[in-house]
């Protein structure tokens, strides 16, 4: 695996030059989400694992961490960005052709090699679907290596669902995609209720299955309880953590959760790694 950090002469604080090559609106309204497709300018793409992140620089505003939203089997880097702070607000104003900085890939991704032969279930909420999308794309692109794939995903309203077109298309193609929204809406043909309730209804079999969950903290917490009730062991459950991050290389201490640097030791964690900590992750 080559990564920017494996190149010893490179200053790990210096970003690569990259260009926005495509922008897609995922969610509109007051909390908009856009997906940016980004291409490195001065070098070929770099290899990464699903679950790893990058720090995206908008000079004059700073850097923000985003988990890579597409699979390493697909071209370019995609980041789904919720407009919420000064970097993301500026990003939302940017256009195709604009230049940004990229530092990455950073952190530890999902052990997809280790999961070969297993069934995979992803359980996502809202923008938390981002790292899970990278997983399901990877599993779809390497279908013969994995068992059954189940995608469980929900958002507050149908307008808040990310990657809608892709997910509807996958459903049409026969993939097991289980969508939900929190409150009833006319013409919504799928589950109404919270993501963990949908999971209870689906009742996935824990045998030879890896469950990966990502979403708002409260959703993750309840989902973990549901998975345990279904018979999932802590070492079958993975999540990714989000913390404020600055350096991305395990120095600055911002994302430090006890002895763990989320940016360096994570952001991907197996649940038993988190349950032995004192502080709530």
């Amino acid at each position: 695996m080559s990564s920017v950090l494996d190149e010893p002469m490179k200053n790990p604080y210096l970003p690569y030059k990259a260009e926005i090559v495509e922008i897609r609106d995922e969610v509109k309204g007051v909390r908009p989400i856009k997906t940016f497709k980004i291409r490195l300018i001065e070098r070929e793409r770099f290899d990464y694992q699903s679950g790893q992140g990058c720090l995206v620089s908008v000079f004059g505003r700073g850097e923000s961490w985003f988990t890579i939203a597409n699979s390493p089997t697909r071209p370019d880097l995609e980041f789904s960005v919720l407009k919420t702070g000064k970097v993301t607000t500026k990003l939302h104003e940017m256009e195709v052709g604009d230049v940004v900085g990229i530092r990455g890939p950073l952190g530890r991704g999902f052990p997809l090699e280790e999961w070969k032969g297993m069934n995979i279930i992803t359980i996502g909420g809202g923008i938390g679907q981002t790292p899970l999308r990278s997983i399901y794309q990877y599993v779809i692109d390497n279908e013969k290596d994995y068992g059954d794939l189940t995608i469980v995903y929900g958002a507050r309203t149908s307008k808040d669902l990310c990657y809608k077109d892709e997910l509807f298309q996958l459903k049409e193609q026969g993939y097991n995609v289980e969508l939900s929204i929190d409150n009833p809406e006319p013409d919504w043909p799928y589950f109404v209720g919270f993501v963990p309730d949908n999971l209870k209804r689906i009742k996935p079999d824990p045998k030879d299955t890896i469950a990966i969950t990502c979403g708002p903290p409260i959703m993750i917490k309840i989902t973990l309880g549901v998975l345990k009730d279904l018979g999932f062991k802590e070492n079958q459950i993975y999540t990714t953590l989000e913390r404020r991050m600055k350096c991305g290389i395990g120095k600055c201490g911002k994302c430090k959760l006890e002895s763990v640097y989320v940016c360096r030791d994570g952001p991907v964690f197996r649940y038993d790694e988190l349950s032995r900590l004192l502080e709530e992750a």
Partner: protein, 332 residues
């Protein structure tokens, strides 16, 4: 063991300045001492127990430009001047060692490394424990350090000079040093005994990790933090507190800077979603004590407290890390 007839520390400052070093040495300001870049050996004053601020800024400045940006990014070359720190106490040398472990282990921080590689460390053994000192509780000695290049002990009329590295040897060889006599050796031993008996503070580190694991959810931490004003002076002065922020200064062109940050500030961990993993001040204060005596012990295998007592001396509401650790309740 060598001795120098006279003030080795002062003479070494003069010599290093002559040789073109940038020299950090203790300077008296009002009623306290602080490490400063000096231009003349006469500015220096070695009559102090310890400096008010730790000298961590020698390798890890309070503010540091990482790069310039405009059309694109311009790398700022890491500073590489020959630098020396003269008169650093053993606790602060341990602080330097612990900082080295943060910035040089795993991924190397190039800005820190450039300064560290070019740094000569001339230590100064303590002849007296300060009111807030407790280095002996965290496994350190007030008069020894194997991590310095040279360590000097004041005997009154002369100074004992112990050379601890090749870098130290190269500098010490320029001085007229003689072998220590039996009398010098026994005077040094006596002095060490006197120093050890001058400590008034200690921290009980027995089973500390277990005690802390047990007490994590205790209301004790709320009581400890009752008067805390989250000012961050403890982290600012601490020789092992390394947290920093990175920010851009200038909209279209400018500089990307890193600056010291503090886990005591609510903004340190506040996320743009408004979620804050350590929202309450007692959680932030608890984080500092656990980081020093538990979290970093798990990560690096040693306490990230050197017992300098600066945080005790400076706390505006009298929070005393030694007392806090000693009073951790059991059976909660």
């Amino acid at each position: 063991m060598k001795v120098y007839e006279g003030n080795f520390l002062k003479d070494v400052v003069a010599k290093l300045l002559d040789d073109g070093y940038r020299v950090y040495a203790p300077v008296k300001e009002k009623n306290y001492h602080v490490f400063k870049v000096v231009e003349n050996a006469d500015e220096v004053d070695f009559d102090y127990i310890n400096t008010r601020r730790s000298p961590k800024d020698v390798t890890f400045p309070e503010n540091e430009v990482l790069m310039k940006y405009g059309e694109w990014v311009e790398e700022i070359p890491a500073q590489a001047d020959k630098t020396a720190i003269v008169g650093i106490r053993p606790c602060d040398i341990q602080g330097l060692r612990l900082m080295d472990r943060v910035f040089l282990e795993d991924i190397t921080d190039p800005y820190y490394e450039a300064k560290r590689k070019n740094l000569l460390v001339v230590g100064y053994a303590c002849n007296e424990a300060g009111d807030y000192c407790f280095c002996t509780s965290v496994g350190l000695s007030p008069f020894k350090s194997d991590y310095a290049d040279i360590i000097v002990t004041e005997l009154g009329d002369k100074q004992v000079v112990e050379i601890r590295s090749e870098k130290g040897e190269a500098v010490a060889s320029k001085f007229d040093l003689s072998d220590a006599s039996d009398e010098d050796v026994s005077r040094k031993k006596e002095l060490e005994q006197k120093v050890l008996s001058s400590f008034v503070r200690s921290v009980n580190t027995e089973n500390l990790k277990e005690r802390m694991a047990e007490a994590f959810n205790s209301d004790y931490w709320k009581e400890v933090a009752e008067n805390c004003v989250s000012c961050g002076i403890c982290t600012y002065l601490c020789p092992t507190c390394f947290c920093f922020d990175i920010f851009d200064d200038g909209e279209l062109k400018g500089v990307r800077i890193r600056a010291w940050d503090s886990c005591q500030f609510p903004l340190h961990t506040l996320e743009s979603s408004s979620h804050n993993p350590r929202r309450e001040k007692w959680q932030r204060l608890r984080n500092r004590f656990y980081d020093k005596f538990y979290y970093m012990l798990v990560r690096k295998g040693e306490f990230y407290c050197v017992g300098c007592g600066r945080c005790i001396a400076a706390c505006p509401v009298g929070i005393d890390i030694a007392e806090v650790i000693n009073n951790i309740p059991s059976g909660v």
